[in-house]
Symmetry: C2
């Protein structure tokens, strides 16, 4: 089940796809066999890698492609009155059966210029689906890449939680974000619908409004909690109050009783009674060190006496590094009091509040004591670069290669149907991606392969591969899915392997990462440059 | 009909809303009457105004609020095993009937701290809907504001077209963007589904791939076009070729025949045959001035001979100001050749390619000749600030005011149920927004009203209003919509009036706009500060 099904439909496209479709049809070239490549020109976030995501959504879209009667009716309205009626019959007849889709495995690390998908089929049909394909790949890949960068920055042991629903582009923006952040490396989401639809673990505890809703113990309607392993009942509020007095006597935390909020304590008690085994408290509503942590420790120790183990606390403001270290100090101090309090030293500290990649790296440098980050805005909006910029370009038609020229060399397309390989070196890391003409023989390991920069003549290298992987598989042909699709967890695992195992650290690092090479074979180089010259008009001087 | 219906459902929420709901229910405070305010703290994009949008979506969400059996089943799975079974019966029984929603009119210009919506009802139910409401208001308001800023920058005569679908956060991100850019001030969208669902005018012509698909006249399968007002047939390709030769002889455009692409001409002819009355050509595939414009003028003049009138051209790269002026020059030159070519001077020039507010202002300074902007990425992703940051705060519970304190004064909430007014001065412009206690009498025009800054003691002013508007209406009560909802076009019109007619120019300008004042009454000021002191813990020094 997929929460997007109802919206991913043929009309989710730019109007010009429909006008072009009509013009192709009118010209009689709509059925000409065409090949389109989907690729991007620049890695996002000043980085040197991208995670490819959205493939399954593209395939489902093509699988279900069919204009409804009301769609056709609408298209009739927006095209000129004199549009030929046979065109609408043609539209009605369209489906994805004539398309062939080759793609890189979803979750792979990918690089500029290499086609993520190659879509072949009737010219007009290929053209019609451009916008939907770009819509489905662009944000999915962008946010998965962003999530992977958060994972890189925070290390493999950090718990990463996506909290972005309220800042995403509407309901489905939020769902898409949750799904692709998970595959990019996040452990869970706050988005319950994403949990239900995709099986992603859901996480969360309480908001400030919950804490504020308890001004005093009067708002605590029940105070009793059963001991975990007996029928005996304890008064969690009384027990927590006692623990609190004891704590303030015991430790020199620089706090006086009058500073510690009774409303906050009451809210913690109410929450702990509801969730005695998963108690995680938001402790910054009043003052983390002068109120929140005192109440949290008090309730946690009282819970402990009843046989339950608190999970941890969350801070959502202030100096997260300083606070996390102060909290850890207090937890360690508590843990040394009694053997049975040993668990306190590992108490989970969750931090949220405008976390981004840079914050995480700065926190790392300050040797923070945070166990989990909750990330919203910067993750789902991809603040640093909110669009990936994938494009969808015609590279062949009726067996003739097509090239899109531009005065800007980076915008020239690599023409023709291609095959693409990832070349690995002796140490197991990927060295470069190589594009070749479809007609060339496969490159072989342990042979010298000449790899050229597609546009800079002097940049070339001989490569001796220890391993070569063909990048594309056929996923959709003759109206059928012909390659099994991985589960979300398999895609997630593939992202991790693809980046962490196969990509050299210098390509992954935050500051001035080394660009990963994307090359063409000698034959493709010559083919590309010959075609370029053939197509570039010749000016005349005087 | 609304494209979001299927996704805007109770589970589209953060998990902590459900855990808090359980804790409230378990504590027996879930039915306590509560009041929550939705507001933001800072206008986006370094501006001093925001457009409020998303209200109808919120109301529809509340109207349809009901957990499905499978939702309940899922919640059962994610809550601890020992959660009480009665809670799920309670969830099943929940709907929006107990809520009251007051709101500012959708499309109004709004300012920090003033509640956009005030939601009253049972504590747990109010809490449950927080995330969905924020999700529906945040991006809608942000992107509507962005669109309104583009409109401000480009003036009322510019045609503004939203082309953002491929860069939005998935399918519904794109739909949401199209809808709210339209109300914010855009004239049309490329998004066909948005056209179908919301009745927004759809716009678009052709992509580079269409142009590239014609390498030579061989790919032109039909060349004939009927004269508009007779049965006579012309060969549009031959006629265009003749016009082109004639043009190159006639004018010193510094172009030789060999530079002008025949493939491009063929593609224009194919498109013009399909759309003879709405011919708009993308002219930058090869070279705007050395190929595109020559072919475009040639085909347009040939169309003219057949009785049709071309609409214009689009440029998607290069120096848009320079190119637009060069294009206008050529069009004007053509228009002076013959009386019947007069229409050529007004030929539409559409520009796209990474347009943002700053580009538009720079183009204005350079006195560009562009008639329409197509805007994608910067508009829908809100690159400059991709999240609005609306919050949802508890302000009263069981008739007691609630305040959320913070060491950061800008984060302190204004407690209690309030009434809010917009005060207008003699010249018809809005002077300030005023929040009062719900119990205070309405302020009256032509009386002195003392307005105070909510936190800065010395900032206060006496205001003599010429007109006072109450900002909030009750939209939802006792399970019914009680205020009629405006159409999309009415909301769009209201945005325009609300900004252009009522807001002083200095609040709207791009550079260092004057902050609009948001004040509280004397009584609310005292109430707020008393409550603050009551709730702030007292520290002790030595």
């Amino acid at each position: 089940m997929n929460g997007q099904d109802s919206l991913v439909q043929p009309l989710l496209t730019d109007f010009y796809q429909i006008t072009m479709c009509y013009a192709y049809w009118n010209n009689g070239t709509h059925e000409e066999p065409a090949v389109f490549d989907v690729f991007f020109r620049k890695n996002p976030f000043h980085g040197e890698f991208t995670v490819f995501a959205g493939l399954e959504d593209c395939l489902r879209f093509v699988e279900n492609f069919k204009f409804s009667a009301s769609d056709i009716e609408y298209v009739r309205k927006i095209l000129p009155n004199d549009a030929k009626p046979e065109f609408f019959e043609y539209l009605e007849s369209l489906d994805g059966k004539g398309l062939t889709i080759e793609a890189i495995k979803e979750g792979s690390v990918v690089f500029p210029k290499v086609p993520l998908l190659t879509i072949s089929g009737p010219l007009a049909m290929c053209q019609l689906i451009e916008t939907s394909i770009l819509n489905l790949v662009n944000y999915a890949s962008l946010v998965a890449t962003n999530a992977a960068r958060f994972r890189q920055a925070s290390g493999k042991n950090m718990q990463l939680l996506e909290f972005g629903l309220r800042r995403a582009q509407g309901p489905n923006g939020g769902l898409t974000a949750s799904k692709y952040c998970f595959i990019g490396g996040f452990d869970g989401t706050s988005n319950v619908l994403a949990g239900k639809l995709y099986g992603i673990p859901v996480k969360g505890t309480q908001a400030h409004s919950f804490i504020c809703s308890f001004s005093s113990p009067d708002e605590l309607k029940i105070r009793s909690l059963k001991y975990k392993d007996s029928e005996k009942i304890g008064d969690l509020f009384e027990m927590s109050m006692e623990k609190r007095s004891w704590l303030l006597d015991q430790f020199n935390w620089g706090v006086v009783q009058s500073e510690v909020s009774d409303g906050e304590l009451s809210s913690f008690v109410a929450y702990a009674i509801a969730f005695p085994d998963t108690f995680l408290a938001l402790i910054d509503t009043y003052d983390v060190l002068r109120s929140g942590v005192v109440n949290f420790v008090a309730v946690s120790l009282a819970l402990h006496d009843l046989g339950y183990r608190a999970m941890g606390c969350r801070i959502d403001s202030g100096d997260l590094s300083y606070l996390s270290k102060e909290l850890r100090n207090r937890f360690v101090t508590v843990s040394t009091l009694k053997d049975e309090y040993k668990f306190f030293e590992k108490m989970t500290i969750v931090a949220s509040n405008d976390i981004n990649e840079e914050t995480i790296m700065s926190l790392n440098e300050q040797k923070h004591e945070i166990d989990a980050f909750g990330v919203g805005t910067h993750l789902v909006t991809c603040q640093k670069q909110p669009a990936l910029g994938c494009v969808y370009k015609l590279v062949a038609q009726s067996q003739q290669p097509k090239i899109k020229l531009s005065q800007d060399v980076t915008k020239i397309t690599i023409p023709g149907k291609k095959k693409c390989y990832r070349i690995f070196g002796k140490n197991g890391f990927a060295i470069l991606d190589l594009m070749m003409l479809d007609s060339e023989p496969e490159p072989q390991p342990n042979e010298q392969i000449l790899c050229r920069h597609p546009f800079e003549e002097s940049k070339r290298a001989l490569v001796n591969a220890s391993k070569i992987i063909k990048l594309h598989d056929v996923y959709w042909k003759n109206g059928e899915l012909v390659t099994p699709l991985p589960t979300l967890n398999e895609i997630k695992e593939h992202v991790n392997t693809s980046i962490t195992v196969a990509l050299r650290q210098d390509h992954r690092r935050y500051l001035n990462p080394t660009p990963y090479k994307v090359s063409v074979s000698e034959k493709l180089y010559r083919f590309l440059h010959d075609l370029w010259l053939q197509n570039a008009p010749i000016g005349q001087l005087e």
